[in-house]
């Protein structure tokens, strides 16, 4: 369970998150919605441990995640094993010479046997529809292909929590459906999926819970899918994001 209490985050250029209180249960599919620049990506950075909140506390299960706690390499690495993060710009995540090496990078870090690594890589490439790309150079892939390879490379680590920042951008309608179905399967297998998006229509049938941000970086609503169904006005508002 991820718990955020009174979280605020300040960039030198201004406020990104203002007094956010959230409890995200394990095994849920959560959609983070809101207009551009409302703080969704910053929240994901905090959840992944890449950024520390200016004020407030962040807790995973019973463990308080602080800058001091993250200074210990063992603790930081344990957190990274638990939480996977697919960046909004997948270009930044791909640094290996081939797609195969890219996906194998994570499992190799886990110290798995080469046969197990090969098995995992093949599975992840197949799940994301990237098997044909395995010998290609990630740099030369299209935007949508890079997104899928980035997801495969994070999946290969088998994280319990999967953070995704606008993962559907640049994908075709068919590929979007396939990715959402895969994420739903992962959630049904017990993983926590937290996905930032500004497209409500795409995720409304998949997410079980919606965390909605205001443009002023405050939390507008934290609703279950059922509760949101009862609010057609809010749904119409979200559809216009």
């Amino acid at each position: 369970m991820l718990t955020l209490a009174n979280i605020s985050f300040q960039y030198p250029s201004g406020l990104a998150l203002d007094q956010i209180n959230l409890t995200l249960p394990a095994g849920a599919f959560v959609g983070l919605l809101g207009p551009n620049g409302c703080g969704k990506s910053t929240l994901l950075r905090i959840l992944s441990g890449l950024a520390q909140p200016t004020t407030g506390t962040y807790q995973i299960d019973d463990q308080l995640i602080t800058a001091e706690w993250l200074k210990q390499p063992q603790q930081r690495q344990a957190l990274h094993q638990k939480i996977g993060f697919v960046f909004q710009n997948s270009d930044l995540q791909l640094f290996n010479a081939t797609v195969n090496a890219e996906v194998a990078y994570g499992p190799q870090q886990l110290g798995l046997a080469p046969t197990v690594v090969a098995h995992r890589v093949a599975d992840c490439l197949a799940l994301t529809g990237c098997t044909d790309l395995k010998d290609r150079i990630p740099y030369q892939l299209s935007g949508g292909e890079k997104k899928r390879v980035a997801l495969a490379s994070v999946l290969a680590l088998n994280p319990q929590v999967l953070l995704l920042d606008e993962p559907l951008n640049g994908l075709t309608a068919g590929a979007q459906q396939e990715m959402l179905t895969l994420l739903q399967q992962l959630q049904q297998a017990g993983k926590t999926i937290i996905m930032a998006s500004h497209n409500f229509q795409q995720i409304k049938t998949y997410a079980q819970r919606f965390v909605i941000f205001n443009a002023d970086h405050t939390l507008a609503a934290d609703l279950t899918a059922k509760a949101l169904q009862a609010q057609p006005d809010l749904q119409a508002e979200l559809a216009l994001l």
């Binding site: 640094f95 290996n96 110290g111 995992r120």
Partner: protein, 269 residues
Amino acid sequence: MTKKTELPTWLQQPDRPVQPAKHHNFLVKNSRRLAQLLQQLTSPAGIGQPLLKTTPQLQLVALLFTLLLILTSQLGWQLWLLGLYLLLNCLSLAGRQLRRFLRNWLLTCCVALPLILPSLWVSGPNVLLRFCLRTWLLLGFTQYYQRTVALPYLLSGLQALHLPNVLILIIDIACVYLKQLTTYLLASLEAVELRTIAVPKHPYRLIAGLFGSLYLKSQTYALTLNEAMEVRGFNGRYQPTAPILHSRWSDYLVLLPPLLLAVVFFLEK
């Protein structure tokens, strides 16, 4: 596109936690350094206060004049006076800034040393010593300037000195370009860190991969930037937009110390 639809068993159960290695700070340290560089490139915050507050253009003139003095100084006492002047300047830096200044200065001095050392065989130890001192002073003053003037202000200073617009454009683009690459490398290091659970098995391959990727992206970025400028009708004319800070009489005080030193050196001759 053939796609597997069922999740494999290993993905349906959590992995055993890996025992991470104890010493693995390479990524964190480098990320921190890049964040500092980025701050220096983007905002004047974190930049030290110079000894005498002045405009960037006068600070640049003072620096160039001081560098000229160092290059023309031949005697030991002249270099000693210039060293004292550098020390006096350094006193204005805050503790953290001073530590960074000293660390970078020492590093650049060490890098310069192998280039200077061959002069020992060519001209002997006395010349080598003077050469070393002058090079270290040059590096010290340049480092001090870098610590006290943010890059956006440098552009404003160059503009106020009426330098050719093309030169300002080149420096402007270089700054933007450097900022982009730093941002890119910082985000890449973060991405690597997120997927690096234990000590990298092949750290040099990882570094090579990162730099290879950076090289390719920078090439693409440069070409795209050029195309974007052409598409928007760039024809070689450039009007700098950085606001010019006009100098008051008190700003000229920054030129006084190097001028005084020049007078003393001249009189002693």
